[in-house]
Amino acid sequence: MEVLEKLLDKNGLIFAFLMIGLLMAVSNWISRKLLRNKLPGTALAILAALVFAWFGGTKGVADFPMFAGMALLGGSMLRDFAIVATAMGASFTEIKKAGLSGVLSLFIGVILSFFIGTAVAYALGYTDAISITTIGAGACTYIVGPVTGSAIGASSEIIAISIATGVFKVILTTIFTPLVAKRIGLDNPNSAMVFGGLIGTTSGVAAGLAATDPKLVPYGALTATFYTGLGALLCPSVLYFLVQAIV
């Protein structure tokens, strides 16, 4: 047992490849045989992964030393590297065509998410501008939340809530994108770019589109990648001043 533990500890990334491969094989089998392809195998695998993550801690299953390699495989370096690689299947003309609506959706996505977040915070009893702004920023992404919070001096409790809001958004996007894709017309590069700009959280957009149609991934990822930057730019500045003026 000790030998095995040492082996897995040393070869974490390789073990993660094996685990993910097995998980996807099982998910695809269940999707095909038991669910008659009603839920894509990828969506099922992602859902199972989220459930496993729930048993872990702040880093999901990677909190267990045995699965530490998962943090490398699913970490931002390899994720971003693979997302860039998907651009090979993207067409530049399609991107240019959807350019304007993509940029527009980015601004609407950040500002709208922020104000819905602030409205919920206000409705549930938060009255100071700093807390309201930080929670609103968390409704953008789980990175914009803490960046904004620490910039304007929010308490760690509020920052934790803003992170939770952002992570919850990732989970909801991941689960529901393949289910609502048809109804919201998410089946072409143009709407995928709008989707990436509106939702903005790279992890959610990436996972949701992967489970819907991998061909759409590069388009959604392209706009989503600007979202967190735009949010981190607007939330602690213009949007914070606006909340201060209103409250």
Binding site: A16, G74, S113, A164, G166, F168
Partner: protein, 123 residues
């Protein structure tokens, strides 16, 4: 050689991240603004140029396509390392805000997509 493709991908990735980081410093955010996006555009342009000159053979291309195919399993691994417990323990504010924001953005997708199509027709 497949490694040529992987090297092209790595070069575009790093160049894009550098542009994103510099933009972050310049805007005083201290993060990375659109690094992945810049890298994607660089890869598309490099790819097109090299292909026209006949410098990118199928084998090199396969080096990039391999990483593109690994994307889905990486996303599954990424889901497995999310802080799900914290997301569910953030209280009603987190749950309600997350739910409302996600639902609203979903509903706006068809509205803004139509806008994109309209501008395309008028131009």
């Amino acid at each position: 050689m497949k490694i040529y493709g992987v090297a092209i991908l790595a070069g575009c990735y790093l160049a894009g991240q550098l542009i994103g980081s510099l933009l972050g410093v310049w805007l005083n955010i201290g993060g990375n603004v659109g690094g992945v996006g810049f890298a994607m555009v660089l890869l598309i342009i490099t790819n097109e140029r090299l292909r026209k000159k006949g410098l990118l053979d199928t084998k090199s291309e396969q080096g990039i396509l391999f990483w593109s195919a690994l994307y889905v399993p990486i996303v599954v691994a990424m889901s497995a390392i999310q802080n799900v417990k914290a997301a569910l323990s953030g209280g009603w504010v987190a749950i309600l805000a997350g739910l409302l924001v996600t639902a609203t953005c979903f509903m706006l997708v068809p509205v803004l997509s139509r806008l994109g199509k309209k501008t395309e027709q008028s131009s």
